[in-house]
Assembly symmetry: C2
Homo-oligomer: 522 residues x 2
């Protein structure tokens, strides 16, 4: 096996007698490395954590064995100023080590981890809104250097600020292609016959760390999928026993939780992992919740049996249910059922492969994104078009060829220029194509209808006679925003609606995929 190149993180062998103060910026990774025992199996039976303290606040991340006699603990300080720490362990060499460091101001572009905000939406911890526009690149960390670099270059020019990928790749007949491609697995061993599930391969995880860092540096959240069902009886990483699963989760959380851009996706298509019940997933969620001092977002992505996203350890709904974006009006229902952010994390993929889940036109992909957004929810992109070196973007990353990313970028601009608190369905019981902020901002999406005009009419909530509005006609496919010249002034029509006092209408081009943006003039 080749030795993977990897970037050495800020490594601090800290102690009470250390000289110059170590500095880490807020929400960045502080790492402590200590030499520790190597006899026996250092992955098993060694308890190792550290209590990080600033005033009355403490956090206790778990450490992990990184091979070659080195144990590490990572911590993401969330307040500026002095932090102290002291290690705990059942081994003397790892116990009672004390130190301190200074947490400095975050650099520009570092907004901290993403949290749920305003019940159905997200924001970075510094308060900046975060509207997820995700994409799917399941196996990109395991590709050749060249293809990984190409993925990064593609992402630089994309609207996507969240990437879903697998922590363990699916089984493939011949996985390794080209220099730098994956040549090892999460566990020591070479095949199903000889995995040592009690020993992790640190080099494997260092590769993933580089990928998480690369995404972080692009401002992209890393939606890391811990389990997946795709081994077809070969590797067997989808049939591991409960103890191995839990140890795996703890190891991944110990290594990655200090990265501010991490989201935990417990699984992709979880119910296809037949031997795991909902109660098993409950337990694994709770392991993550307990082990992650930074409380990154947690969800799970379903196959036929939908896990109960209302469980308290689930922060948002990560759903695969195509009908829920094919019809307008379903996302508001999901919000009302779950009372959490809804992220349609699989809505089929743009492409032309023979599998029906990868046959969307660009128009349909964009329609489904708008359907999610207009329902007060979010969606995740993927593309299956084959690339010259095999497979599509959703599998191995590389280059995007589809028509949807540019339109998704256009939609993201509209959303980011909209109400900071996110879009809320307007009157979800009767109107299925309207979201915004009552009385101030309305985004109306006509989807596959092709109206030639729209009579100015809005649901009555928060409206008063005399309020004035301006409108923009938005062509969601051709990516144009055309202001309507006239100003609108409203008066009540009936018990439910306000209309323009002069019964004004807005002319529309009779094409599908049009939208209107109505904004109050103060």
């Amino acid at each position: 096996m080749k030795k993977l190149a990897y970037i050495v993180l800020l490594v601090v062998i800290a102690g009470v007698s250390a000289g110059q103060e170590v500095q880490v910026e807020r929400w960045d990774v502080f790492e402590l490395a200590l030499p520790g025992p190597t006899e026996g199996n250092p992955f098993i039976g060694i308890e190792f954590s550290a209590v990080f303290r600033q005033g009355a606040r403490t956090f206790e991340p778990h450490g992990f064995y990184d091979g070659d006699g080195t144990f590490r603990i990572r911590f993401m300080p969330d307040r500026e100023g002095v932090w102290t720490y002291e290690t705990r362990s059942n081994r003397a060499a790892l116990s009672g080590k004390q130190g301190r460091f200074i947490c400095a101001a975050p650099s520009p572009g570092n907004h901290g981890p993403v949290r749920v905000r305003n019940q159905y939406h997200f924001a970075y911890e510094d308060g900046a809104p975060f509207y997820p526009f995700g994409t799917t690149i399941y196996e990109w960390p395991f590709q050749s250097d060249e293809r990984r670099q190409r993925t990064i270059e593609t992402l630089k020019g994309c609207p996507f600020n969240k990437a879903r990928f697998l922590v363990v790749p699916p089984w493939r007949q011949s996985y390794v292609e080209g220099p730098g491609a994956l040549d090892r697995c999460p566990f020591f061993g070479t095949s199903k016959e000889n995995w040592d599930f009690s020993r992790f391969d640190p080099e494997y995880f260092r590769r993933l760390e580089i990928c998480v860092e690369q995404l972080r540096d692009l401002g992209i959240e890393a939606d890391m999928i811990l389990f997946r069902p795709y081994d077809h009886g070969k590797w067997g990483f989808d049939t591991m026993d409960a103890a191995t699963n839990e140890r795996f989760v703890r190891y991944v959380v110990a290594r990655f939780a200090a990265y501010r851009n991490v989201w935990w996706s417990l699984a992709n298509e979880n119910s296809f992992i037949r031997h795991l019940t909902d109660e098993d997933w409950d337990h694994l969620f709770q392991v993550v919740q307990e082990a992650d001092p930074h409380q990154h977002l947690r969800s799970i992505h379903n196959a036929g049996r939908i896990y109960d996203h209302r469980q308290p350890w689930v922060t948002h709904v990560s759903l695969q249910y195509y009908m829920a974006v094919r019809a307008l009006g379903v996302s508001p229902l999901l919000r009302d059922i779950y009372r959490k952010p809804i992220v349609h994390d699989e809505i089929n993929y743009e492409g032309t492969i023979t599998k029906r889940w990868g046959q969307l036109t660009g128009e349909e992909m964009v329609y489904r994104f708008w359907s999610a957004i207009i329902g007060g929810a979010y969606a995740t992109h993927g593309e299956t078009r084959l690339q010259p070196d095999g497979d599509g973007w959703i599998s191995r990353g590389g280059t995007l060829q589809g028509q949807s990313p540019a339109r998704i970028a256009f939609l993201r601009e509209i959303v980011e220029a909209g109400p900071a608190g996110g879009l809320k369905p307007i009157d979800q019981y009767y109107e299925n194509n309207m979201a915004g902020e009552l009385g101030r901002y309305y985004l109306i999406y006509f989807g596959k209808d092709a109206p030639t005009q729209w009579a100015f009419k809005l649901p009555d909530s928060e409206l008063e006679t005399g309020m004035r509005f301006r409108a923009d006609i938005i062509d969601t496919w051709h990516m144009t925003v055309s202001p309507v010249e006239c100003m609108f002034e409203v008066e009540p029509l009936d018990r439910y609606s306000y209309i323009d006092k002069d019964r004004a209408t807005v002319g529309l081009p009779g094409r599908p995929y049009m939208a209107l943006r109505i904004r109050r003039v103060e």
Copy 2:
């Protein structure tokens, strides 16, 4: 106040020395009446129950005070043969009374209470399928004798086998109209100023019992709504305190749980009862669950805040969310989220009133019923057309004038002639208009589309080359079933579908609201 006429139930003053054996048919009401203490307030502080026993099975229904010094206990025996009982009480007069009775075979038409069956469906306790086709007559028990009788006559000619109605009517300026109309309230008193919430008015509840019996005798389930928010600050039955609410629930359960046709609907539009939280509803559900020895179906009907129907004490989802029936494909999602039967208990009403919830055309009402059914769910009808003596069917019952009931009857016939286990969505991720039983029966609904032909093509699950099918063209509006002459024989088309080996198509009339029924020929 007038004294209400009421039917005296089978009343048994039973004792160990009784002569001839009392007989009650299976799933009918056995009632024990005992004289008890009248000093103070007999509604408060008197514990009274009876243990009914047959072999190793025991049930302990609570009794209730019925006024005039009489205490009653009701019990619905669910097995034929000898039952014995012994009362328990903290008052000597009501304690230790023993007796027995014979439970005889049920008479024709008595199938017992309705239970959840096959996860998403219902059946009577004797195993006969029950497909709910509900209607809404919120205030019918409180109308004049004449109007109540008219309601009963109407129901005799209707497809409806479940009726939703309120246990407490909404406040109205002038409630009483005509002989026999409601002239009393659940509690003693005459107005908000002087309700005695510690004393129930037995005559009030006797009226409701008559109504439940009348429905039972028509084979109609009584979906009894315990709480509702409609007092507008007047009567105050929607602002009662927790202790009163609980006492009210216990009293209603004690009186009604022995009726086999009862369903418990904890509330209509529960979140409009502003002072009750979800936790309050949790508690009230648990009170019902604990107090009802017969475990009738339990659900709750929402306003804006949807109660969590996944709670274990909820037997089925009773939903008000119009979008969920306006678009095909939503009910399968709800099934997959809740894993319980889905009953769309309010889908707007047929009529032409100015309130937007009562403006459906007959076509739209029928469409929404089909939408529910084709999604493996059920729906509930209502009609708002005004009648000569005021208000519509949904409020006061009376006569139906709409176009939908005949079509709903037609749909019910189709469902009842279909798979006994109920309709299951076929391939809910990609097909939104198909339900049935894989490999045997397919009901395909074209809704508002108006195709002129349908190429014979079915999702592949459970199909094999050479299987043969017959088709019927169903006009859901004109209520016709037209068999297609030819027989179809299938072969695989691709990885997802089977088609007719001769590429046969079925001609369709190019009208909306058409359906196809495809049945396997053995």
